[in-house]
C-alpha cells in the first residue's frame, strides 16, 4: 500500500536520510528503530509531506505528491510527538476534526460521509467518553496523546504513521495503546508504520522492521531478521541484549529489604 524507494532528505549540506527504501502491505506493522538522530522521525515527516524529499513515495501505486491534501488524509493518518496546545478546545472538538477530510462541501446536502459512527467508536475505543467536554489544556500528556489517537481513528485512514505512539504513556496505557493499534490493524486493508524506542514492544507487536543508523538503513525486512543481536549491537554501539537482561535481572533476585534500607540511608 505504501512503497518508499530511495528516500533522501537533505537540509542544506547535511544529509539526514540517505537512500532509505521500505514498504508495507495490508496487515503489516513496520517498526522503525535506531538510535537518537538516526532519522526515524524524519521518515515520518517526509512521508507525511511535511518536508521536501528526494526519491519516490508511492501510496496505492501513485506518487504521494500527486494527491490532494484531503485525498491523502483519507489514506494516511499521522500521530506526531509534540502537541503544544494554546487554546481550550474540548476533547470532542479535537476528535471531530479527524473527519475533516470527509466533510461535505459547503454546498453539499449529503451527510452520508460524515461518519458519526466512526467518531463514537473512536471515543469508546480510547476510553475518552468521560473527558469529552473537558478542555484539552487540562489533560495530562498521556491523555492528550489518546485524544489525538482518537482523532486518528476517526480519520480512518488505511496507513497509520506513528511517531512513538507510546511516548508520554505510563505502562498501563502503553499496553492499552499497543493492543488498540493491534485491534485496529486486524481489519482488512490496513497497515501501521511506527517509530519506536522500546525494542520490547517493537518485537512483540511488529512483523517487519527497518533499522536505521545515522540516516542510512542498516537492515530491513521481517522483524526477526532485522532486530538481531548483531545488527542492534552494531547500530547502538553496545551490547543491547546484555543491558536488557541486566534490567530484567533486577527483579529476579529475592528482594533483600534490609540491605535496601541500608542503601537508602547512605
Amino acid at each position: 500500500m505504501l512503497e518508499v524507494r530511495d528516500l533522501t532528505v537533505r537540509y542544506g549540506d547535511l544529509t539526514i536520510l540517505d537512500g532509505v527504501s521500505f514498504g508495507v502491505r495490508p496487515g503489516d506493522w513496520l517498526m522503525i528503530a535506531g538510535p537518537n538522530g538516526a532519522g526515524k522521525s524524519t521518515i515520518i515527516k517526509a512521508v507525511s509531506q511535511m518536508i521536501p524529499h528526494e526519491g519516490n513515495i508511492l501510496l496505492k501505486d501513485r506518487d504521494i505528491r500527486t494527491y490532494k491534501a484531503r485525498q491523502r488524509a483519507r489514506l494516511i493518518g499521522i500521530l506526531t510527538q509534540h502537541h503544544a496546545l494554546n487554546y481550550s478546545f474540548s476533547v470532542e472538538e479535537v476528535i471531530r476534526l479527524g473527519r475533516y477530510a470527509y466533510a461535505p462541501g459547503l454546498f453539499s446536502r449529503s451527510r452520508q460521509a460524515y461518519g458519526e459512527d466512526l467518531i463514537q467508536e473512536a471515543i469508546d475505543q480510547t476510553g475518552l467518553r468521560p473527558l469529552l467536554k473537558q478542555s484539552i489544556l487540562t489533560l495530562s500528556g498521556g491523555e492528550v496523546q489518546r485524544v489525538f489517537l482518537a482523532q486518528l481513528f476517526a480519520q480512518n485512514p488505511n496507513v497509520l504513521l506513528l511517531d512513538e505512539p507510546a511516548n508520554h504513556l505510563d505502562l498501563v496505557y502503553q499496553k492499552q495503546t499497543f493492543n488498540l493499534l493491534r485491534d485496529w490493524l486486524a481489519k482488512p486493508d490496513r497497515a501501521i508504520i511506527s517509530v519506536v524506542h522500546d525494542l520490547g514492544p517493537a518485537r512483540a507487536y511488529g512483523n517487519r522492521a527497518l533499522l536505521l543508523n545515522k540516516g542510512r538503513q542498516q537492515a530491513q525486512g521481517p522483524i526477526e531478521e532485522v532486530l538481531t543481536p548483531a545488527n542492534l549491537n552494531q547500530v547502538y554501539g553496545m551490547d543491547v541484549f546484555a543491558w536488557m537482561r541486566e534490567m530484567l535481572d533486577q527483579w529476579q533476585e529475592p528482594d533483600p529489604p534490609a540491605s535496601n534500607q541500608a542503601g537508602r540511608l547512605d
Binding site: S48, Q71, A73, N86, Y87, F89, L97, Y100, A103, Q155
Partner: protein
Amino acid sequence: MPKKIKEGFGVWAYLLFVGLTFLTFAVSVSLGSVRVPLGDTIRLIWKALWRLPLPQTASSPAIILSVRLPRVLSVALTGAALSLCGGAMQGLLRNPLADGSTLGVSSGASLGAVIAIAFGLTMPSLPFAGTMVMAILFAFLSLLIILTLAYKLDHSLSTNTIILIGIIYSMFVSSILSFIITYASDRVRQITFWTMGSLNGSSYGNALVLLLTLLVFGSVILAHARELNAFAIGEDNAHHIGINTRRIKLTIMIAVSVLIGVSVSIGGTIGFVGLVTPHMVRMITGPNHKKLFPASLFGGAIFLMLADLLARTLLNPTELPLGVVTSFIGAIVFVLIFYRSRRQGHA
C-alpha cells in the same frame, strides 16, 4: 442516523447580538457634544431610512444624519472588521496575542497609505483607491515579512518570537513613516492619525466601502472557521487531517490584509481592537471559531462604538483620537493575556 452537529450559534443568540449592537449604535448616535434624546434619534433614523419628512425641531437632524450616523456606522464596521482579523490571526498563528497592531500589519498598511498620499499615487476616476490599494498591498507585504521571519526563527511560533518580531517591525515601519510624513507634511495628514487613528469625519462612502469589504472578505474568513480551528490546535495536525495549510494561510492572509488595509486607509491605525474583542469573546464562547467569529463581529462593533463614544465625550468638546482609547484598554488586556499564558507555562 447521523445527525447534523451544530457548532455555531442559534437564531436567538443572533437576535441578541443584533439587539445589543443596535442599542449601542443608537446610544452612540444620540450622545455627543450635542445630546439628542434616544427616542428622537431612533425616530429620526427611522424616518430618514424610509425617506419620510424630517421633523424640523432643532439643528439635530443635520448633526445626526450627516455627521454622527456615518461616523458611528464606520466605527461599527471598522470594529467588526478589525476584530475578525484579530480572531483569524490568533487562530492561524495559534497565539492569543496576535493582532494587526501587535504584529505591525496596521503600521505597514499606514506606511502604504502614506506613501500613496505623499507621492500622489492615485487611480484615475477613483481618487480614494490609490491609498487603499497601497495600504492593502503593504499590509500583505508586512504579514508576509513577519510570518516568514517568525517561521524562520522559531517554527513553533512561540509568543515571545511573534511579539518581538512585531515590535521590531512596527518600530522599523514607524521610523520610515515619520520620515515620509516629515518630508511631505503639506500633503499627508498629521502623524497622530496614522499612529493613533480616528474616524472623525467619516462619510457614508467610507461606511459603504467598509461594508462591502467586510461582506466579501469577512465571509472568506467566516467560511474557514473549521480550518482555523485546526490551525489553532496545531498547524502540523491541520496538515495531517487533510488541510491544505499553505492555501489556507495564503487565503486568510489576503483576507486579513484587505480588511486591515481598508480599515487603516479610512480610520488610521486603531490599535488593539483585534486583540481585546476576541479575547473577551473567547472567555464566553470558547475558542471554536464557528462561534468566536460571529460573536467577534458584533462584539467588535460594540466595543469600538463604545470606545469612540468615550473618545468623543471624555474631554468634551475636545476630541481624543480613537486609537488613544483602544490602545489604553488594549495595553492592559495585552499584559493580562501575556501574564496568564506565562503562568500556564506555554508562552
